[in-house]
Amino acid sequence: MTTVLNVSGVNKRFGGLQALDNVNLKVEEGQTLAIIGPNGAGKSTLLNVCIGRLAPDSGSVEFHGETLIGKQPYEINQAGVARVFQTPEIFPELNLLENVMIPALSKRNGAFHFNIISRMREEKQIEADAISFLEEFGLQDQSDNEAGTLSRGDKRRLELAMCLVQKPKLLLLDEPTAGMSRHDTNTTIELLKKIKESGMTKVIIEHDMQVVFSLADKIVVLAQGAIIAGGTPDEIRNDPKVQEAYLGEEQV
Amino acid sequence: MNDQKKLARDWSRRQILKASATGAVLAASSSPMFFVKDAWAANFRNNPGNSSSVTLGFNVPQTGAYSDEGADELRAYKLAVQHLNGEGDGGMLNTMTPKSLTGNGILGKKVKFVTGDTQTKSDAARASAKRMIEKDGVLMVTGGSSSGVAIAVQGLCQENGIIFMAGLTHSNDTTGKDKKRYGFRHFFNAYMSGAALGPVLEKEYGNERKAYHLTADYTWGWTQEESMRKFTEALGWQTSKAVKTPVGAGDFSQYITPVLNSGADVLVLNHYGKDMINSLTQAVQFGLRDKQVNGKNFEIVVPLFSRLMAQGAGSNIKGILGSTNWNWSLQDAGSQAFVKSFGQAYGFPPSMAAHTCYVQTLLYANACEMAGTFNPPEVIKSLEGFSFDGMGNGPTEYRASDHQCFKNVLVVRGNMNPSSQFDLLDVVQEVPRSQVEYDPAIFGGKLGPYTV
């Protein structure tokens, strides 16, 4: 098994606050890694370091052996990392089909392609691809609608479709069910399970334990910027340190 | 629906012919002359032919900073049209000599007019003039309140073979390096201002002076500064500094403070319009007029004055010397006749912009009568070298070599004790024509051909 993402010895300080303290992580191909931790534990900072948005004070972040530090978001995406945001980031003024065709174009044409002569209409291959992904996510009926009119759950599904149409090597999910109704959460879990079956490598940051335990192969627990535990869901469930730091109150 | 059909029929035949002809141009591009000249008309542009009326184009600033001047010019034009058509009291038609006008329109045709907005921008002014020429079929374009606009429109009129009678334009370039065969200027220019002011300045302020110039940073300002320096330096004055200021700066204080300690004892403001109102007001506020430098009273000179500007500057104008083309307080018969009919029509006296525009219209009409035709080359020839009197400036000549009018220039002073709200300028001296005349060769430029 190859290592997709390798985070080693990462430190990050904000003023007097040690946001990340010697964090080491490895994500293997096909694995789903969940990062959990109480609020302010440094989950978002870690994610931002992983995608190059924040430069760590020390340490390295490597993706398939290539460093991600100092790279622009588009470079990281072109390298094969796709990202799902806490609040779905889609193109609200464009219709669903266009929303999915754009990432497909990026995958095929690269970061910049000055193509003003060909017509969108004639990008048949891209269009077919996009339609098949819309179908897969059950959005095909709405493909002519503006994406901004979708429900939050549908927006999330659209965003996933946009990420997956690029066939990324790594998918990062930042609290994919935050702010969703129970019903939407459940459908999203189903969806993520399906994606997992296809062998996609994923990193999930999540609050919702139901989501974490039903999806993750491996869980890492962050507290005050440091990893206090890591292992399979079962190991984590039974780790006393975790119970103390995070699950404790709920268990009592 | 019926109305639309009717409309369609109205513009049907001739227009469609015309339009299909334009289409033909595309195909028949080998005969380009076909469209530029009015192929179906006679020998010159916008020939009125058998029509019972002729149209003149009054192109004045209606929006922007000079729109008050523009409005006054338009009043004068309307008056001129009335007088030409034999309406009203006739104004200067009663005093002009020699005169071919009869108060029966021009060459028996009733005078009509169209108006346009120059916005004091070359582009807008040319667009407006083109509309007049291409759409309204005017025979002559006149107006304007800025040299840049006048030069731009004059060039256009030359290309189109339409006579341009410039309104208020004071730059040397209009009849200097940018002069045109089809362009005529009655107004005086910066050179003449300098020539007229020089001796008066010497008399009033002596010949040991140090002058500090503030100059509007554009063509007119530069020619004004150049002329003023030429004539004051000839008197023995020194030019301590000449500073360019951005047009429309509003607050000139940062340019005025350096004057205070420069050792200069005269400030020459080569500004016009809003800029002049502001810079003069601020110069007075900075106490320049109460100052003593080199044992002499500090003085301010504004080479180009107008009554509208004097109104804007309020009491700051009092006692300040400048030059002007014409003032309503002149006592000659022509001026009185014009002030009378203007005053009766509008309730206040005309500005110098109004005067020059009125005179220009009459001069054009008169030249057509003299030539007996509207054909521009003939009209131009009768204007060139035309000498006349009774139009407010004494004996005047349209010099053939540069189309500049030569006449007496007024040196004026801001009135210390105005007897009425319009009585703002005192005439200090009528500088005789001989003193402000110059050789046209000094500015270069070429008039160009009679036929285009």
């Binding site: 995608i51 | 339009a19 141009v25 209606q62």
Partner: protein, 377 residues
């Protein structure tokens, strides 16, 4: 998909070409069928269509776009002065130089977005204007504007033609470019420019621009490097403006600094908004309307109004003239401002947006009633 098919495109272009080329006929009832105004329609149409490529597609509101218009004009006039009166090199120089200017200004301004971008472009425009008006006078001839002179160099023309007595005229291999031929030259370029804009809008590149407007963050995380996209859009749009500027000089060889003033930049914004941002025809319509107002409305005076309403009884006539006269003639700016506010408040999509909305509603209603009929029968 929101774009049109190849066949639809062809049909649309054919219709468009016919409408543009027949303007000298169908504008007659409006009193607008004279060469200068027709030229202005075509030229400012190009300007607005180009501006819309930037503002309409990417949402970046440039408040200094008139700079490129000015640069295009200056470059074209210099081409007339230095090389030849033929308009082809002038147009090429105009586009080229405005492209270079756009590259420089865009490189700096596009480092910011939103209102900061607007202010940066505005600052650059004001600097260019102030300099062109004063210090750069040797190049721009200041307030008077850059004009042709008899003794200009005209290197290429000098080889072939003896200089005449008067100023030479701009020409396209012998066809004079004033009057109607000038209009047709501009009109053909407008049609080409419009076609290019149509293709850009419907291309993957155009789609990327729309996506940048919609969500720039997502664009980055989707793997697009947005800077070169914005740069290209800015440069294309600047070159359109340069083309328009060059054409202004082609039909009338004069270039003035006031073309670069920020109010001139504001005007193209007004045009685009008035017609409809992001729509294909909107900017054209807006450009036409504003130029029409400027030229026709400003020429209305009381006498003309009296004549227009002369069919009414005297009292009504005076009343109508009284009501209308503040809004025409020297009041046309008031009309413009008022109309503009009304559009922004009630029709954010501009005139074309408004028409589309009404049309869609109508179609929906008809669709609904057709369904009803289907059910009942």
């Amino acid at each position: 998909m929101d774009t049109i098919s190849r066949k639809g495109e062809l049909r649309m272009m054919a219709l468009f070409a016919v409408i543009v080329l027949l303007m000298p006929i169908w504008l007659i009832p409006f009193g607008a069928a004279y060469p200068d105004l027709l030229q202005k329609f075509a030229i400012f149409g190009i300007f607005a269509v180009g501006f819309n490529i930037l503002f309409g597609l990417t949402g970046y509101l440039s408040f200094g776009h008139a700079v490129f218009l000015g640069v295009g004009s200056y470059a074209a006039v210099w081409s007339f002065k230095l090389f030849t009166m033929n308009v082809i090199p002038a147009v090429i120089f105009g586009v080229l130089f405005s492209g270079i200017f756009a590259a420089v200004i865009g490189f700096v301004s596009l480092r910011r977005s939103g209102i900061y971008f607007s202010i940066l472009t505005l600052a650059f425009a004001q600097m260019s204007y102030n300099l062109a008006y004063s210090v750069l006078t040797p190049i721009t001839n200041g307030e008077t504007g850059l004009q042709l002179r008899l003794h200009d160099l005209r290197m290429i023309d000098g080889l072939f033609i003896e200089a005449g007595e008067g100023l030479p005229l701009t020409n396209l291999f012998g066809i004079k470019m004033s009057g109607y031929p000038g209009f047709y030259f501009c009109a053909v370029l407008l049609i080409l420019a419009f076609y290019l804009a149509l293709r850009i809008k419907n291309s993957p590149f155009g789609m990327a621009l729309k996506a940048i407007k919609s969500n720039q963050l997502r664009m980055g995380y989707t793997g697009f490097n947005t800077r070169p996209y914005l740069m290209s859009a800015f440069m294309i749009s600047g070159m359109y403006a340069g083309l328009a500027g060059a054409l202004l000089a082609v039909t009338d060889p004069l270039a003035g600094a006031e073309r670069m003033q920020w109010t001139a930049s504001g005007e193209v914004v007004l045009m685009t908004i008035l017609g409809g941002v992001g729509t294909l025809f909107g900017p054209l319509l807006g450009a036409g309307l504003i130029k029409y107002f400027e030229n026709i409305f400003s020429s209305y005076n009381d006498a003309l109004l009296q004549e227009t309403f002369s069919f009414l009884p005297d009292m009504l006539n005076n009343l109508m003239v009284g009501i209308i006269s503040p809004f025409v003639g020297d009041g046309w700016h008031l009309t413009l401002g008022g109309l503009f506010m009304v559009i922004i408040i009630f029709l954010p999509g501009g005139i074309v947006g408004g028409i589309t909305m009404v049309w869609r509603r109508y179609m929906k209603k008809r669709g609904a009633s057709a369904e009803m009929e289907g059910e009942t029968s």
